[in-house]
Symmetry: C2
DNA sequence: CTAATTGTAACTAACACAATTACAGTTTCG
DNA sequence: CGAAACTGTAATTGTGTTAGTTACAATTAG
């Protein structure tokens, strides 16, 4: 299993949308069943993407910046996805082989298109829809 | 970067389709720039999926079972994809939190749909198309 | 001032994966 | 037959990624 960050981020965002209030990293960590620092690291990425805002100091925490209906899963994906999901080999090509020489370019296109297809699907799913599935 | 197996498999299949002949794991390894054992492991998966056939013994190697026009990148993806691309947390839910309790089911659906969207895109791309990009 | 909270660095532990070595089994061909 | 050239496969290693954890400075509420 690789990179749970997307799953964590979806969970965090759903919890924030469901509660509608400020939640601190400890509450979120209990819900996700992980460590508050892990939650805060993800919140930083979500904040950088303009999805949540954070209050520091006592009684601090985070809340959504926008209504859940205006947030798609692609927004969340883009906020936390560090690496493309399909990796392209960066090895040196073998000069005597045409396949080897052209592979990187071809594979990059394949990986790009595949990821775009997935992101385009995620764009159609709103956070609101997930919240409705809780109730 | 995670799981280069898909990239390796695409490279191997493209090389086999391009040459049209039997290639042994050492030739393929040179083209991919990796170790013959790594290639053989991927060939096992491709064989199990019915995409290639292997000849053992001297002058052995592998070749495609079907024409490149009859092989989609989804076939290759399914042959080597061990884990779903989006992982779902398998942690115990926190009973006092409704979001936590329903998250696994919701996230499983999200991951399934996203992967299906990607696979459905890959189905539309044939190996033949990649080979044409080499020439 | 004290308590609660975030931001962040530093380190550890676990895990995934490619690379590598080694060797038994199979086949070709002199 | 016997050597050479392959595959199949197990075992081990090295490396990189990631979540977990601890610690602490900075900030804020009361």
């Amino acid at each position: 299993m690789v990179n749970q960050q997307f799953a964590f981020a979806i969970h965090i965002m759903t919890a924030l949308a469901y509660s509608g209030e400020v939640m601190d990293s400890q509450m979120l960590a209990r819900s996700v069943n992980t460590n508050p620092v892990v939650v805060r690291r993800i919140l930083l990425a979500l904040r950088a993407a303009g999805l949540v805002e954070t209050i520091i100091g006592k009684h601090g925490g985070s809340r959504l910046c926008k209504p859940a209906s205006a947030i798609s899963l692609r927004d969340i994906y883009d906020a936390v996805a560090a690496q493309p999901i399909i990796s392209v080999s960066q090895r040196k090509a073998w000069r005597h082989c045409e396949v080897s020489c052209r592979m990187r370019k071809i594979m990059s296109a394949v990986a790009d298109e595949a990821e775009r297809a997935m992101r385009s699907h995620l764009k159609a799913v709103t956070l609101q829809r997930l919240v409705r599935q809780i109730r």
